[in-house]
Symmetry: C2
């Protein structure tokens, strides 16, 4: 997983930010933030909910949604995905890039000094200001590859109806 001291650091940052913003530090918020901070899965709200519920059996899904967006507004988590709606959260605020499986949606961070220093064409400035740039790599993860190898030992896969999940 993620280094324990890193998680600790993120939690302290959260506590400081919460105090600075004047929002309360509740159990729920702590656990929800801890979950995102400790995960490499870039979980969505539903996934965070499932895990946090094992520790706080009474949390509600709507609290998870509200808290994730609160964390986002506080600048403590970033999002992966285009806009509201099937968004996934990421507590890693350092520059990094994403690998996303086009079959199952698995997402992983990776870093690269070279990619952090991308040279964006000047033409892009005509669209508007640039806040950030990152690389998104799409592929088929190991598990999905293994899964299809198992399902179709050799035969051709049905050409229809099978791509369907995507970036």
């Amino acid at each position: 997983m993620i280094d324990h001291s890193e998680i600790q650091g993120r939690l302290e940052k959260f506590q400081a930010a919460a105090k600075a913003a004047g929002v309360k530090l509740t159990h729920q918020r702590l656990e929800i933030f801890r979950e995102v901070a400790a995960s490499q899965e870039h979980p969505d709200a539903e996934a965070v909910f499932r895990t946090v519920k094992t520790r706080l059996p009474t949390v509600s899904l709507d609290t998870v949604y509200r808290t994730l967006w609160l964390l986002h507004d506080l600048g403590l988590v970033a999002t992966l995905g285009p806009r509201r709606g099937s968004v996934r959260f990421d507590a890693n605020l350092d520059p990094h890039h994403h690998y996303v499986c086009v079959r199952c949606g698995l997402a992983r961070d990776f870093t690269s000094a070279e990619l952090d220093a991308l040279d964006i064409p000047a033409a892009v400035n005509s669209f508007g200001s640039i806040v950030a740039a990152h690389v998104e790599v799409r592929g088929v993860c190991r598990d999905c590859a293994a899964r299809s190898a198992a399902a179709e030992p050799a035969a051709a896969s049905p050409p229809e109806q099978e791509a369907r999940r995507e970036t």
Copy 2:
């Protein structure tokens, strides 16, 4: 917009692909594909629906959804966004990159030979196979920048409740 001959070429490619796959070429499919092929907006299903309806008043939103995913399965359109759910479609199949406005979601393509040849760290191979890599640039588009300049002539913007839409 997009060069007319380019749109024409995409339409012909669609007709050939439809024949090859044995699917029927209906008015609806033609119009829906034309809309995606002619747009630089990377429209979502709802947006395609609104425009196509002006030409085919009886199309239904579900036909738009079904057709867009059909086009996707035929390899004629790509998607922008992480997975099913608030996905936006893109008929530009040449290598390219995206600019996305974090406020309003506006999306634009741009190309760069340098960015097409990104050097992906070897470590990424441990996640799975690589199908594609592209750069996503986030920023605030001209219109949104103008809009906030108008709304808040000089004063500090309310720190709370205003980021909220995002990649």
